[in-house]
Amino acid sequence: MIDKRVSSLAAAVEGIRDGSVILIGGFGASGIPVELIDALIDQGAKELTVVTNNAGAGHTDVAKLLATGRVRKIVCSFPRSAGSVVFEELFSAGKLELELVPQGTLSERMRAAGAGLGGFFTPTAAGTKLAEGKETRVIDGREYVFEKPLKGDVALIKAETADRWGNLTFRLAARNFAPTMAMAADLTIVQAGRIVDLGGIAPEQVMTPGIFVDRVVEVANPVHAGLPNAAGAAR
């Protein structure tokens, strides 16, 4: 019997090793797996590389993780945004390495990892500073930049619904990076607002097939990042 459900957040993040590359879903405040991030903080893994689009805002979730000092490097497209005070402090103090990646390249690099590709040529960033030092190739008269796959040891994902096989649905635009990150990590950990019986998600409604998911923990009424009184606020 396949059962990817785990009974607690602590069990969900068990075994995450120091030095891991952690992919964290979300765009702005939407889709951030707040409870899983808190569980990772409690779990204590350090020397982490975090891959996520934004570098956190305020002092919760991604920013809270950064503030523990356990993140060595962050890979993201838009670290500097409203409220990214923790990131800015660590960055200017030289305590956090930043790899800046154009947003579409960030996503496609993870897709490549998940899809078993050795990389890809993209027109994005050709002729710019972010292509410096990278292999380029002219294909049909246009310049492309070679980008390598970006694989995670762990992905932390927020879903709306899951079943015990790990099939997932996401709420509205909270989907963003989640399906790609789920396929790009060795250990994909999901917090779902609701776990349903097999068949409870219609096959054609499955947004991420369970093959990409390893652990599922139910977190009913999750905190929505960025909202003061968040429980269920979006419902």
Binding site: F27, T124, G127, R171, L172, A173, R175
Partner: protein, 222 residues
Amino acid sequence: MTFKPLSRDEIARRVGRDIPDGAYVNLGIGLPTLAANYVPTDREVIYHSENGILGMGPAPKKGEEDPDIINAGKQPVTLLPGAAIFHHTDAFAMIRGGHIDLALLGAMQVAANGDLANWSTGDEKLPPAVGGAMDLGAGAASVWALMEHTTKTGEPKILERCTYPLTAAGVVDRIYTNLAVIDVTADGLIVREMAPGLGFDELQARTGAKLTLANDWRVIAL
């Protein structure tokens, strides 16, 4: 001679009139987003957002915001009937794959060859942030740059070569400023329209690249 530069709203209004019926459009933050308010109501335009939305509508009423319906600037938006939601990788396949007909982007500098600079001033003290700007610049079928014609201190932002780090090379098709509408062509920068009362020499004096006045140029009508 006195002339009247366009206000931000007027630039947005001028741009809005040119967004074609049936287009799939990505709007940058700020002035580009404002332009959507001025598309003639008989046109159907589908707005795309990098975080996986086609069919974005206007901002919601106060109290009706949904934190999982936001645009690329992380502001709450609405979904129109017929909207679609998808994941990030698909959103950028739409961009790089040339499926987005038009990207309206704010700009810090634009060069005569269509080079776009809108993500960094090159200030090493500030942590950099690029977001989807490079993907949009490289990928959208057509790119329009929207900006003030000069900096706050009067330095030209349209140049022979950008001095800021590039976002994308040779991609801008059209420039809308508070002084003019300018096409970027293989023959250089062609001025199509100028602000009321503005003379070509005055425009050229505020521009860091050679301009050519189109034979059929017009005063910007609002």
